[in-house]
């Protein structure tokens, strides 16, 4: 009888040992790069997928900053007998998904998860990745995903940064922190409490940044001086035309700058050092704004650049006194371009930082345009208010500076936060 028991136990053990992953347990191995927009989108999708399929476990491997994960990726490719030349790269039940296109890849991924839930899928790379006991090798499925970058594999190996922890990066729940480069979107801010970076909507961020940038007092002094000159003209039609032209030209300068900057960022791609440099600009701008909060406590106008200001005023006077409206119009537009180009430096990097954030979102062309226009509208809102009210009442009107100081602190903190995110966790800005 003993040998019958022994045989039965051995048989059961063999069956259990040879069994693939149980039907309810689905593992996904996700290779991504910190700062890669497609990866961020897929990462977000995988987290939502986990909500719908709690039995799904996602194992994350950041490859830009973790060379050991590049080695894992190479070994995975060898095991599946495929060529990997970019991230995002996902493996579920020995089927790979290279690249990520919303609407197609996500459907295929979910379908694969459902298939693996219903009937166990082979999982031949678990051992390679050190996730669990070896699984029977199944037949690899090459898939048909498109590569993100042909140069990526080489580029990945050129980032010999330290490994942030030896544990395998597993993301058990959306929003919780993961080790070794896993992306967590949820964090705690003192006083404010728990905060999810992904809950920040782009339209909200656009409005807030546009308003804070617009509160910048140095953006308004030329308009105020122009209005004071226009009030002395007595010709309401000319006042509206010249003042309106100045505001429109000022908006155009901002538009041109932001579009050019956005194109540059999109053209250069997501080069890490550019993103880090812009993050640095945000940190410097943030520190400057916070410093202003403490140094300019009375909310007054700082007296700086007297010589340049006087020259601008002289030019403006001569332009407004032009008898010919067309000459005056041309002069005002030229002056608006000149003054606002110089004053861009004064904006503490807000437009450059915002366009970098925008570039990370991977939008279509018209959406980029719409967001930039929205930003400029809110940036110019206080100028528009002052101009329209003054023209309507024929009395110079100011906007209370009570909130300027608060806006400096809020703007400074916002720029600092964005700077840190751009440098350390750019994926948080990609949703």
């Amino acid at each position: 009888m003993k040998w019958i028991y022994a045989f039965a136990i051995t048989a059961v053990a063999m069956i259990v040992g040879a069994a693939p992953v149980r039907a309810a347990d689905v593992r996904a191995y996700f290779f991504y790069g910190d700062g890669c927009p497609h990866c961020a989108k897929e990462q977000y999708f995988l987290e939502t997928l986990k909500d719908r399929h709690p039995s799904l476990s996602v194992y994350e491997f950041e490859v830009y900053n973790h060379p050991e994960n590049v080695e894992r990726l190479i070994k995975t490719a060898e095991a599946l007998r495929i060529v990997v030349d970019g991230v995002p790269f996902l493996v579920i039940g020995d089927q790979m998904f290279s690249g990520y296109a919303p609407g197609t890849t996500d459907r295929a991924i979910e379908q694969r998860v459902e298939t693996c839930k219903a009937s166990a899928c082979p999982d031949s790379i678990a051992q390679i990745l050190g996730v669990a006991a070896p699984r029977p090798l199944g037949s690899p499925s090459p898939g048909n995903g498109d590569a993100v970058s042909g140069m990526l594999r080489d580029a990945l190996l050129e980032t010999p940064e330290e490994t942030a922890g030896a544990d395998l990066p597993v993301v058990p729940d959306a929003g919780s922190a993961s080790s070794a480069g896993g992306v967590a979107s949820s964090f705690t801010v003192p006083i404010i409490g728990s905060f999810d970076a992904r809950s920040i909507s782009l339209p909200f961020l656009t409005v807030v940044m546009g308003l804070l940038d617009g509160f910048n007092p140095c953006a308004m002094w030329t308009l105020l001086f122009l209005i004071s000159l226009l009030l002395g003209m007595g010709d309401r039609r000319k006042m509206w035309i010249l003042g309106g032209a100045f505001i429109a030209a000022s908006s155009a300068v901002y538009l041109l700058f932001m579009v050019a900057w956005l194109k540059l960022i999109l053209f250069l791609g997501f080069i890490t050092w550019i993103r880090i440099a812009i993050g640095g600009v945000a940190l410097v701008g943030g520190a400057y704004s916070i410093r202003s909060f403490f140094t300019n406590r009375d909310g007054g106008c700082e007296v700086v650049g007297e010589e340049g200001r006087r020259k601008t005023f002289e030019r403006m006077r001569s332009i407004v006194r032009q008898g010919n409206l067309w000459f005056a119009l041309g002069g005002i537009i030229a002056l608006a371009f000149a003054v606002n180009t110089v004053e861009l430096v004064c904006s503490a990097g807000f437009p450059a930082v915002y366009t970098q954030v925008l570039a990370l979102r991977n939008l279509v062309a018209w959406q980029y345009g719409a967001y930039i226009l929205l930003y400029i509208f809110f940036f110019m809102l206080d100028d528009l208010f002052v101009f329209v009210v003054t023209m309507a009442t024929l009395e110079m009107t100011g906007v209370t500076t009570r909130y300027v100081r608060a806006s400096r602190m809020i703007g400074g903190l916002l720029l600092t936060a964005i700077g840190l995110i751009l440098i350390f966790k750019p994926a948080w800005l990609m949703f």
Binding site: P217, M220, W221, T222, L224, F225, S228, N296, R297, D298, G299, G300, C301, E302, V303, R309, R310, F313, V386, M396, T397, G398, V399, T400, T401, R402
Partner: protein, 90 residues
């Protein structure tokens, strides 16, 4: 008592302060005030060392001696308190 008001047409906070002073001047007709433009009244600007922030309000006593200087956007109530303290309810 006299208040010297230093401001500029390009300074937003100066524009905000204009109507406030207008109201105060109407409520306290005995209060003497004088406005100096930062860009045109260069002598007065230099004499009082206005080189940091606008608007600046210099408060002079009856002997013409400065006893207080305020910068930036100031609440009307605060200005009224200072005037009442010096001039009483006039």
């Amino acid at each position: 008592m006299k208040v010297l008001k230093f401001g500029a047409v390009w300074c937003n906070a100066c524009l905000v302060m204009r109507p406030r002073w207008k109201e105060i001047e109407a409520e306290y007709p005995k209060l003497q005030t004088e406005y100096f433009d930062f860009d045109t009244d260069v002598d007065a600007v230099r004499a009082y060392g206005i080189d940091r922030t606008l608007p600046t309000f210099v408060f002079l006593d009856d002997n013409g001696k400065e006893f207080l200087r305020l910068n930036g956007e100031i609440a009307k109530e605060k200005l009224v308190d200072i005037i009442r303290e010096r001039m009483g309810d006039v």
